[in-house]
């Protein structure tokens, strides 16, 4: 069954989606089958594409809106929300 889920998660203060954190985020997204988009500041990116996620330029304290569609959408967003909340630098 195709499920669709949305979630919003706040980037921790002092953390930006630059190369290493974006790599963690994209690898987490890539471990799910669902199609996942991440939006910030009015722009959207494929959550499985490192270059488009980095181009969002999301900084600490900004909200990321996550949307997943697919059989594992809910699990994907749970994992990604935890991933973003746990980013340290």
């Amino acid at each position: 069954m195709l499920a669709s889920c949305e979630a919003t998660v706040l980037m921790p203060d002092g953390v930006a989606l630059h190369a290493r954190p974006a790599g963690l985020f994209v690898r987490t997204a890539g471990s799910f089958r669902s199609e996942i988009t991440v939006s910030s500041g009015g722009r959207s990116a494929n959550a499985k594409s490192i270059l488009s996620v980095m181009a969002l330029g999301a900084r600490g304290g900004t909200a990321l809106e996550l949307r997943a569609e697919g059989e594992d959408a809910e699990r994907a967003l749970t994992a990604l929300t935890a991933c973003v909340s746990g980013l340290l630098e």
Binding site: A19, R20, A22, G23, V26, R27, G30, S31, K48, S49, I50, L51, S52, M54, A55, G57
Partner: protein, 130 residues
């Protein structure tokens, strides 16, 4: 764990290839094989077919290899090598080397097949930084 596509970085400069391998590994994590093949055997700037062949052997884990190149003779050297390999398990990406290497390595880290890793590298042609 499933086999991952390996990545080979071919540059005229050994330092550039090694440094880029380090950057890509930091973004993609420790599980992907990212091999640098830079410089000529005498330690100068250039490309070495032997170095590229060795790097391809080290990167190959059974799921294929994507090769990224910087400029000019690096392209020609890799094309010559790949002409002798008809099995399609080693592919040259038509992509900018820095963005392409990072995109390919991260995609490989998620266990995607050769075509998907190649495509991720080549999508870097259109990726904007801003």
């Amino acid at each position: 764990m499933e086999k991952m596509v390996g990545i080979v970085l071919v540059s005229h400069s050994a330092e550039l290839a090694r440094g880029l391998a380090a950057v890509a590994a930091q973004v993609a994590g420790p599980d992907v094989r990212i091999e640098a093949a830079g410089g000529d055997p005498a330690g100068g700037l250039g490309t070495s077919a032997d170095r590229v062949e060795e790097a391809i052997r080290r990167a190959a884990a059974g799921a294929g290899v994507v090769v990224l190149v910087d400029l000019g003779s690096a392209v020609l050297t890799v094309r010559d090598i790949l002409e002798d390999r008809a099995d399609g398990s080693v592919r040259l990406a038509d992509a900018p080397i820095v963005e392409g290497a990072v995109a390919a390595a991260v995609t490989a880290a998620t266990g995607q097949p050769l075509e998907a890793v190649l495509q991720a590298a080549e999508e870097a042609r259109d990726a904007r930084k801003l």
